[in-house]
């Protein structure tokens, strides 16, 4: 029913990202945050592609509400949410893809901000060690 291997991989990336976020070095924390957003994006998109146990519907008719639009049979292939001219099929969930696209761009913004913070910290304090910076603050 489900793509177990994909799920396991996503879970492993989550675990590694968590480990990285717990480090004292801020650059490594930034790497961890990036990994975490990769894992989250994959998770959301995959739930869109594999949700439910409904039958795959590939009819010759219109792509209207057929009750189930998600394909979970990998052998039959998954369809991208693009409507080709003249064909009517069932699609993977377009909504999660739209959400994820926004998330990718925003995670770039946050990563960039975090990295520049690391850089400025290093300029001012000469280190990117969280504990060291805290000690400096007194």
């Amino acid at each position: 029913m489900n793509d177990t291997l994909l799920s396991v991989s996503i879970a492993l990336v989550f675990g590694i990202a968590t480990f990285m976020i717990l480090r004292r070095d801020l650059i490594r924390v930034a790497i961890g945050v990036t990994l975490l957003s990769h894992a989250t994006n994959m998770l959301i998109v995959s739930t869109g592609a594999f949700l439910g146990d409904r039958a795959p519907i590939i009819t010759g008719e219109e792509a209207v509400s057929t009750g189930g639009i998600f394909i979970d049979d990998l052998a039959a292939g998954i369809l991208a949410p693009v409507i080709p001219e003249g064909t009517e099929m069932a699609y993977v969930d377009p909504l999660v893809q739209a959400l994820t696209l926004t998330a990718i761009v925003i995670s770039l913004a946050t990563t960039a901000f975090l990295l520049i913070l690391c850089y400025r910290l290093y300029q001012e304090q000469g280190t990117t060690d969280v504990s060291e910076i805290r000690r400096l603050k007194g």
Partner: protein
């Protein structure tokens, strides 16, 4: 103009005028007080329009929609009681704002001062004309907030700040109890409209028989007592004397402190006539009257004496409003209303006199004064009239209402019978004697005798007419009402009492009404009061000794311990919750994530790992996923930044391949672009930040972090595996809508693009804003190099 419009305008005009006051100040400069006084005058005219109607027994009602979807309206109700309060508020307001013109130094922040005064006046008018209980609560708290602002007007004096905070905590805190009481009333009757309840006898009967009657009554009385400084809540009023004196005269003697009395009068028909009402309201009133009158002895601050006397006088009114059995309302209500009006005249006058005295002598300590009658004869006459009225000396108005207080006490004692028949009148006389003693002290200490201190200024003189006229007007009123009470009684007191009792009240008041028991009580009062005054110094010294020996024996120390304790506890709590280092926060967040997501998922799915697992995937997918895991591991294992960054960007590019596999071409393209940019930024930063240290990961830290990471990993796995078991889709997905309407509504064949730019276009706008802000943040961070480097 119809009456409803007039009243609505009177409520909102002060707020509007307060908003444009800074502009007026630019034109009028330091004469802006006259502008504020003019606003008060207009309000007085607006409220006075309703007077003929309420004298005829009519009421003014109406409402404006406010939050129609919740059934909340802005509704106003004007009866005799509301109109009397409206007249007191706006009338005293005129005098206070005129007086302030001279009292407040030109260097003060006049705009702020008058703005708050006007806002207070509007809030007070709004409160007394409110028909809806929730609306009443809003205006009630507004008066507390404006009072807080005015007590704390001198922001850099610690005592002002202390007094302001205390008053806000006590009065606004009491307001919360009152709101809870209103909510109970709403539960019982199904309406929050007080006017509706008052006009509906079956509703009142329902409330009296309801099991929530007592809780509702107690909660509302707590609110009223906190506002009117009754019982243990009295502590805020003496500290509120840190406010400028005109503010004390306006808020803390004539109007705001009477809000609690107003509330008691307003709910009188709903709750009175029950034993609980008498015990709570009269009991609280009599105890407060005696305690506050007694405590006034110790005060050396002239405003402090007036503060305690205000508490004690408000307690008279409380006691009288409580003196009613349902079958026989008696004269308690009318007497209380009359005393309320009289108190507003003589107490505001006394405060204004105290303001003049403090202004001229530059001190408020009564032990340093004396003999001022020679320097300020007119002030002396005005102050004496007002103080004698407070003491209950004929032919002044205070005498009339105090006689009625005695009469109603006798009557109530007679109805109750038993020992109370004598105890209640005796308590009343004792309270009166205390009042007589401190009133005489006010006159004697300030004006009579000779100067007691060399520190007083050599040349003290009468103030200008601007400061003299307001108290003089009030003193004239005190005499006029005393000698010719019938006009005031007919036009103001009778309508107000009728509004409270919901029936026509006829009151006959005259200066001489024969030799009655009440007159006898008055004579006893004068003798006892004079005797108390003879022992004044001894009593005050005894109080000082007790206080010094047992400093913890007061509600003030209870308040201080409570407030300090609350602040200490919250500091300690914050230290535990916000220790500082990043890691405890992260661990806490992750733990909460685990609890909130894994536990419900397992509970709904009923199993940790579903029976059917699917490893049947194409070989290229297995290879792809294997590479992702490997590259992720690399970021953790590789020592050098550069290597770790290459590993993380490898993950990024591999993820874009996964997106292609998952049929998400748009995501794949975006991911490739974003990953390229992110890698460039990473590389740019590590050029500037060489590897500065290598964290030594000890065994225990490694074990802890591995434990947390594995827990997160396992949780995500459980969530994902159970996602197909129907735990995430209890409702129909929104996606159908987008799939069906993408072409017909938006004319686009790529649904993801259509959602982004069309259906959810505002979300994308938000995303762009986030990008812009991050860009601005980065730019400014780079620009903001400190000068030290």
């Amino acid at each position: 103009m119809d009456l409803f419009t007039a009243i609505t305008l009177a409520v909102f005009l002060p707020f509007i005028m307060a908003a444009i006051l800074p502009t007026a100040e630019k034109i009028l400069k330091n004469r802006v007080g006259w502008y504020a006084a003019a606003v008060a005058f207009i309000c007085l005219l607006l409220v006075a329009q309703a007077l003929p109607a309420v004298v005829n027994g009519e009421t003014v009602m109406g409402s404006l929609p406010w939050i129609p979807s919740l059934g909340v309206e802005l509704s106003f109700y004007g009866d005799g009681l509301s109109v009397m309060f409206g007249l007191i508020v706006s009338g005293v307001g005129i005098l206070i704002m005129s007086y302030s013109n001279e009292y407040m130094s030109k260097r003060e922040d006049l705009s702020r001062y008058y703005r708050y005064l006007l806002m207070f006046m509007g809030s007070m008018l709004g409160m007394v004309f409110s028909s809806n209980a929730i609306q009443l609560f809003v205006f009630w708290e507004l008066t507390s907030i404006t009072s807080f602002m005015l007590i704390g007007y001198w922001r850099n004096r610690p005592m002002s700040v202390y007094g302001a905070t205390k008053s806000l905590l006590v009065t606004a805190g009491g307001g919360i109890f009152m709101l809870a009481g209103f909510l109970l009333l709403g539960i019982i009757t199904g309406t929050f409209d007080i006017a509706t309840i008052l006009q509906n006898t079956s509703m009142i009967a329902l409330i009296k028989g309801h099991e929530l009657f007592l809780p509702a009554l107690v909660l509302i009385i707590i609110g009223a007592a906190a506002k009117s400084a009754q019982g243990p809540f009295y502590i805020w009023l003496p500290n509120a004397m840190e406010a400028p004196t005109p503010v004390s005269a306006f808020l803390h003697s004539a109007t705001m402190v009477k809000a609690g009395i107003y509330l008691v009068a307003r709910i009188h028909p709903i709750f009175s006539g029950t034993e609980a009402w008498f015990v709570l309201v009269s009991g609280l009133g009599i105890i407060t009257m005696l305690a506050a009158g007694f405590l006034a002895f110790r005060q050396t601050d002239i405003k402090g004496i007036l503060a305690y006397s205000t508490i004690s006088q408000l307690a008279y009114m409380m006691a009288m409003y409580g003196y009613t059995s349902y079958q026989y309302p008696g004269i308690g209500v009318a007497a209380a209303t009359f005393h309320l009006f009289n108190h507003a005249t003589f107490k505001a006058c006394l405060f204004l006199v105290a303001g003049i005295v403090a202004h001229e002598t530059a001190t408020r300590d009564i032990t340093k004064m004396g003999g001022l009658r020679k320097d300020m004869p007119i002030t002396f006459i005005i102050g004496t009239i007002a103080a004698l009225s407070m003491a209950g000396v004929p032919p002044l108005n205070g005498f009339l209402s105090k006689e009625m207080f005695y009469e109603s006490s006798l009557e109530m004692g007679h109805i109750l019978g038993g020992p109370l028949e004598y105890l209640i009148p005796a308590a009343a006389v004792l309270g009166g004697a205390f009042t007589f003693a401190y009133s005489i002290r006010f006159i004697d200490g300030i004006f009579l005798g000779r100067r007691r201190s060399e520190h007083l200024p050599k040349h003290m003189h009468e103030p200008t007419p601007v400061m003299l006229a307001p108290p003089a007007l009030l003193a004239i009123l005190v005499i006029l009402i005393g000698i010719f009470p019938s006009a005031t009684v007919h036009y103001i007191i009778e309508p107000a009492a009728s509004g409270i009792l919901l029936e026509d009240v006829h009151l006959h008041v005259s200066l001489w009404h024969g030799f009655t028991a009440a007159l006898l009580m008055t004579i006893i009062t004068f003798i006892a009061g004079a005797a108390l005054y003879a022992k004044y110094g001894a009593i005050a010294a005894w109080q000082d000794r007790v206080n010094a020996r047992h400093p913890a024996w007061s509600f003030n120390s209870l308040y201080d311990r409570f407030v300090d304790g609350a602040s200490g506890t919250s500091t300690a709590f914050a230290k535990v919750m916000q220790p500082g280092p990043l890691r405890p926060y992260l661990v806490a967040m992750l733990m909460i994530f685990l609890l909130l997501s894994a536990v419900p998922a397992v509970m709904v799915a009923g199993t940790l790992i579903p029976a059917e697992l699917n490893f049947d995937v194409p070989a290229y997918e297995a290879v792809l996923l294997g590479l992702i895991v490997l590259a992720s591991l690399g970021t953790a294992v590789l020592k050098k930044y550069l290597h770790a960054i290459i590993a993380v960007s490898a993950v990024g590019y591999l993820v874009s391949l996964v997106f292609i596999y998952l049929q998400a071409p748009d995501l794949a393209i975006t991911q490739i672009l974003v990953e390229t940019l992110a890698t460039i930024i990473f590389l740019l930063v590590i050029i500037k930040v060489p590897q500065t240290f290598r964290e030594r990961i000890t065994r225990s830290v490694l074990a802890r972090d591995l434990l947390i990471s594995s827990a997160v990993s396992v949780t995500v796995l459980i969530l994902l595996l159970n996602a197909s078991q129907g735990i995430v889709s209890p409702f129909e997905s929104l996606s159908y809508y987008f799939i069906e309407n993408s072409v017909p509504l938006a004319g686009g064949y790529n649904m993801v693009n259509v959602i982004l730019v069309d259906f959810r276009g505002y979300d994308t706008l938000g995303e762009i804003v986030v990008l812009c802000l991050a860009g601005l943040g980065v730019y400014n961070l780079l620009k903001s190099r400190s000068d030290s480097k």
